[in-house]
Amino acid sequence: MNYFAGIDIGSTAIKVALIDEEKNVIASKVTSTGSHFRKNSIEALHGLVAENGLDIDNLAYMVSTGYGRKLLKEAHESVSEITANAIGALEAGWEHGEISTIINIGGQDTKAIQIDGYGTVTNFAMNDKCAAGTGKFLDVTARNLEVDLEELGEYHFNLKAAPLPINSTCVVFAESEIIGLLADGHGREEIIAGIHYSIAKRTIRLAKRIGLDGLVCFDGGPALNKGLVASMEDELGKKIVVPEFPQLTTAIGASVLAYEAYLDEQEIT
């Protein structure tokens, strides 16, 4: 039986998703991008195929996306992560209803994407070259506070008082602001929650440029952080849908596009 691959080569992580002809996700994997991301992508794909007892020859079509998309010559074609994300979020969120806005936070980008019922991108906004308020920001915060990235959410909910206002949006300046706050005797909880609200505020402001009507989906690695999700919901004033595997949405979207491209080719030949 044929299967289809979507590989999302991001600045921080490589995400691979395999789907079958029923568009069911049959396997997926997240590994770190590292410096040899072409080699790492291929290894991740082959590893995933082997672990699941699949035959690489049955891989009928592969679509790459993300920052490294064009360098993966093994892929049949590449597509921008915005298009792939739209398709993936529609697939991942369908049980909650029809997604109309996606907020994606990645390692170095923040995007807001407006889609129609077909998963077609109708409008989008993206941060400029500055990485303020992206995954990198959380990464640096966790390191400064000597907390695991995975624990940020827990700290957030342990806070009994109000979150501290964090004013710097620049990763470099935020670092010194955090050190200053720690020196003033503030606790990690209030700083962490403060950072979550600062990212949420910035992100919602970006998303407002394209409108925030209908069902909003939040994905990308940072969406695993429940504290950040709660802050986003507070800033937005409504519930947000987070897919079960928020890191994988774009890779899944690419695999769906791979499947569709395969079908188109079958029709032609």
Binding site: S80, I82, T83, D109, Y118, T122, F124, M126, D128, K129
Partner: protein, 427 residues
């Protein structure tokens, strides 16, 4: 003192090398990354190579007069025996060199122009430029004038009214242009006679006719020429000999007519058609146009002061006496001008919507340089006007630095993909 000037020389030499590298890299992209460039384009590619990579003057010229915006009437300069050369610069190396004159968040174009004028690095006719005409357009250009003066150039401030609809504005501008004509004669030492003015007008009109033909050929579907080449043509008008330029554009047009007969397509047949607007594309900062066309789109028209706004509108004369001719010239450089410095921008909105229709554009890409207030501020009203007509628009804030290429390519590709998807569903 000696060692100081040596370092200064070294710095300039360094910059020049950086610029040659920059120019070479973009020229290579433009020539080699795309198949089937029209033969006539080789002339233009060579012009850039000679000027920016080899450092040669474009041609023999007298009384070279630098111009800094699209509002300077070239007819008057030619009639006074001068040669107008547009100084607006597109080099990142110059942008960095010019950064010392400007606040941190300011326009790349103005910074690059200052950087170039200061070290005369990529300045066409570097040894001959003394006089510069600076229309009082945006704040940054205006204030740059003071610095240009300090660099040792003679700067003529051409006063521009901030609105263009009123009768007062028209009279003010006509007077400003008359004063300019008087000043020009002093600069060149030659009188602007009726006959010389007529000749000059004919020369500019011939160039504009050639441009307008090219412009109209771009409305063809499938596209006959890529937008990156169209920008190379209009950019060369900045510094080229006007008659040579006109001849080659006419040759190019013939070549495109031939392509039309052969049903040739310069891009993929279904490539989304893009209208390009906003801050001007100036060589070698063609990163956005190149990205659009590398991502499978094709630029079929532009509304840029380095291109369409500079060449499209022609002088219409009622009475062929000097006074009326000068007045008609003045009107042509004010009334149709869609520069965002003017407070009402209804003209620009109308123009963009009608161009999108005329050229069957699937979408609009709006470039705004970081720090360019007027284009950044106009963006939302333009977006609304286009949205009301169902025309998708991508707004891109960028500058001359190459470090946002990864980000930009994601955005451009996503936009092109969304236009393709939209069209697919329509079918």
């Amino acid at each position: 003192m000696g060692s100081e000037s040596l370092t200064e020389e070294k710095k300039v030499a360094f910059n020049r090398t950086h610029m040659a590298i920059e120019a070479e890299r973009v020229l290579q992209q433009i020539k080699d990354d795309f198949p089937d460039n029209p033969d006539a384009m080789n002339y233009f590619y060579d012009r850039y190579e000679q000027l920016y990579c080899e450092g040669n003057s474009p041609f023999e010229a007298e009384n070279v007069i630098g111009t800094l915006c699209v509002q300077v009437p070239e007819e008057l300069i030619y009639a006074a025996g001068g040669t107008p050369v547009r100084m607006c610069n597109g080099f990142y190396a110059n942008d960095q060199a010019g950064a010392e004159f400007m606040p941190a968040k300011s326009c790349s174009l103005v910074k690059a122009t200052l950087g170039m004028l200061n070290d005369r690095s990529t300045l066409p006719f570097a040894d001959k430029v003394k006089d510069i005409v600076l229309p009082a357009t945006c704040d940054q250009k205006r204030k740059a004038g003071e610095m240009i003066r300090e660099m040792g150039y003679e700067v003529y401030d051409l006063e521009v009214p901030p609105v263009k609809e009123s009768e007062a504005a028209r009279l003010y501008w006509r007077r400003s242009i008359r004063d300019f004509a008087v000043a020009l004669q002093k600069i060149t030492g030659k009188k602007i006679s009726k006959n010389r003015l007529k000749e000059a007008m004919a020369k500019v009109a011939a160039a504009q006719k050639a441009y307008r033909k090219l412009h109209s050929l771009r409305a063809e579907n499938p596209a006959l020429i890529l937008g990156k080449d169209a920008f190379m043509v209009t950019n060369a008008y900045f510094f080229d000999n006007i008659e040579d330029w006109t001849d080659v554009v006419n040759q190019l047009n013939e070549e495109l007519e031939q392509r039309k007969k052969e049903n040739f397509s310069a891009a993929q047949r279904r490539a989304p058609r893009i209208l390009f607007t906003g801050s001007p594309a100036i060589f070698p900062n063609l990163k956005l146009p190149i990205l659009i066309e590398q991502s499978g789109g094709v630029i079929v028209a532009d509304e840029n002061c380095s291109s369409n706004r500079m060449l499209h509108d022609m002088v219409a004369v009622d009475e062929w006496d000097t006074e009326n001719m000068v007045a008609s010239i003045a009107d042509n450089y004010l009334k149709p001008c869609t520069c965002p410095i003017f407070t009402h921008n209804d003209d620009r909105k109308r123009k963009l919507v009608s161009m999108a229709r005329e050229f069957a554009a699937d979408g609009v890409v709006y470039q705004a340089f970081s720090g360019c207030q007027v284009y950044q501020m106009e963006y939302s009203s333009i977006a609304k006007a286009l949205q009301a007509e169902g025309i998708p628009m991508l707004f891109v804030e960028s500058d001359y630095s190459p470090d946002d290429m990864g980000q930009l390519s994601t955005r451009i590709e996503a936009f092109i993909e969304s236009l393709k998807a939209k069209r697919r569903r329509r079918r």
